[in-house]
Symmetry: C2
Subunit: 196 residues, 2 copies
């Protein structure tokens, strides 16, 4: 089990493809960016894209996972209130603010991804977010159905709402309103501040 490293040309192409995808999604008014256009922009053949990422959804997922993993480490190991140590109410507010910001910054990728892979509940990235939110709610309000409340809160990150707000330049309102909602939901003192 020697676990060969990725060849350098492959790595170079992978990076070029991801970069091209991002650029095309950003630049274009882009209702739809065909894989072939991405391949052309990256200077590779279409086959290479599919060989590397399997399908359209896999390509977009790779792009998203980059960003999500970065947030994940900040949540697991970073300083409070996003990282461990702050009371649940504060951690939740910080996390939702961070995810909204993530969604706003990557709205084009997220929109394309939702189209390509509509079942967000099956995605590891979503499952991580959900489990985190669920845990925080459960810690502060054991009487709530934390699992579903978490789904409802995360529902506000759907591309349609975020797009709508961005178009009107009001994405900050979403952060503020989520804060209003979570404040109404969770008690002031919060649960045990020690946990992970």
């Amino acid at each position: 089990m020697t676990e060969r490293r990725e060849r350098v040309d492959a790595a170079r192409n992978r990076a070029a493809i991801l970069r091209a995808t991002e650029e095309l999604l950003r630049d274009d008014t882009a209702d739809r960016v065909p894989i072939e256009a991405i391949a052309a922009r990256a200077g590779v053949g279409k086959g290479t894209v599919f060989h590397r990422f399997g399908n359209r959804a896999g390509l977009l997922r790779a792009l998203i996972d980059q960003r999500v993993d970065e947030l994940r480490t900040r949540v697991e190991d970073g300083p409070p209130p996003l990282g461990p140590g702050a009371p649940p109410r504060e951690r939740l507010a910080a996390f939702l603010a961070a995810t909204v910001e993530l969604a706003v910054r990557n709205i084009a990728v997220i929109t394309a991804y939702e189209q390509a892979a509509p079942d967000r509940h099956a995605q590891p990235a979503y499952q991580f977010w959900h489990e985190h939110v669920r845990g925080l709610i459960a810690a502060a309000r054991p009487d709530l159905d934390a699992e579903l409340v978490a789904h409802i809160l995360l529902g506000s990150l759907h591309a349609d709402l975020v797009t709508h707000l961005i178009r009107r330049g009001e994405s900050d309102r979403l952060v503020a309103t989520l804060r209003q909602v979570t404040d109404a939901l969770l008690p002031d003192d919060g649960g045990a501040p020690g946990g992970s």
Copy 2:
């Protein structure tokens, strides 16, 4: 401006197409039902479907509007707590319960529609729902950003969450949890019980 009536053959075909769409979406394990299959099932040519409904989204919208209009009349003219007369908190809970039920009963159509027309904020049906919820929240809690809270609550009707719950036979939990959330959000007494 004589406003010619629809020809009887056209009306018959319209009905047949809508029925066929519904059946195929229900029957099939149907990840994707091509228009051509719908036309075949309805016993008409593909061109007829497009002539009548414009495009895929238009067809699905026609199907959904049937259901939504029915709910709308119950909301505008029906008995409380869904219709006018009940306090906002009760009306809101009743409305959300009704929309969840609507979504559950029509999940296949809704899923297909979200795929075909991702921008729900542009849809008249959604705008009606949103305005209703927004108004109820604003009546009971003028200090909240009712517009956005309404979007967040309605976000829980996205096909992905509803599908997820149906698969686990737990769609009732969504109604109960939305009630938990709205109870936390709106005061017990509710606003002026008189208004529309």
